[in-house]
C-alpha cells in the first residue's frame, strides 16, 4: 500500500477570507472548532464530504485546499 501525508492550506485560506475564525469555519461546515483545529494541524483527516464542504466555503476546488504527498519508498 502506498503511504503518504495529507496537508492543507486552511490556515492561509482563512487568513485570505477576512481572518475567518476556526469557530466560524466549523459552524459553516458542521464541525466543532476543535475539529477544525485538528484538521488544520494535520492531526485529523476529514471525511471526503467535510473536505468538499471546506473547499466550497473558500470557493476553491478540493485539490487547492488539500494535498496528498506520497512517501518515497526505499
Amino acid at each position: 500500500m502506498m503511504e503518504g501525508t495529507i496537508s492543507n492550506r486552511i490556515r492561509v485560506l482563512r487568513f485570505h477570507h477576512g481572518e475567518m475564525s476556526q469557530a466560524e469555519l466549523g459552524q459553516r461546515i458542521g464541525v466543532t472548532r476543535q475539529t477544525v483545529a485538528a484538521i488544520e494541524a494535520g492531526k485529523y483527516s476529514p471525511s471526503l464530504e467535510a473536505a468538499f464542504r471546506i473547499a466550497q466555503v473558500f470557493n476553491l476546488p478540493l485539490e487547492e485546499v488539500f494535498h496528498w504527498e506520497a512517501k518515497a519508498t526505499p
Partner: protein, 140 residues
Amino acid sequence: MPYREKTAWLSLIAMAAAFGPYFAIVAMRSLPGALPDLRQLGLLAVAAILQMLILGAGHLFLRRGSPQDARTPPDERDRAIMRRSISSAYYVLIAGMILVGCVMPFSSSGWSIVNAALVMIVAAEVVHYGVVVLSYRRQA
C-alpha cells in the same frame, strides 16, 4: 479541551472514586459463602449511587461552564473517536466475560462471580473512556 473529552474525564474520575474503594474493600475482606450477603449488596449500592452522584453533579457543572458545547451534537471526529473507543472496549468486555465464564465453574460464591464480572465491566469502561481521552489528546 473539547466538551466530550471533559465528560470522558468525568466518567473516569467517577469510576475511580466509586469502584476503586469498592474493589479495595472487596479484595481485603473474605467472601462469605452464604447468600444473600446484604453487607456486600449495600457496598455495591453505595458505589453505584456514588458514581451516579458524581456523574450527575459533574455533568451539571460542565453544562453550566459551556452550555453551547453541551448542546452541540457530536461531529464526524467525535463519532469516529466514539466508534474507536467502543470497539476497543468491546474486545475487553468479551475477553473479560469469557474469563469470568472460565472462573464460574470453580467458584462456590455468587459474589466472587458478580465481582469478577464487575471488574471486567469497569475495565471495559476504563478502556472506552481512556481511548476517548487519548484520541482527543493526540489530535489536540
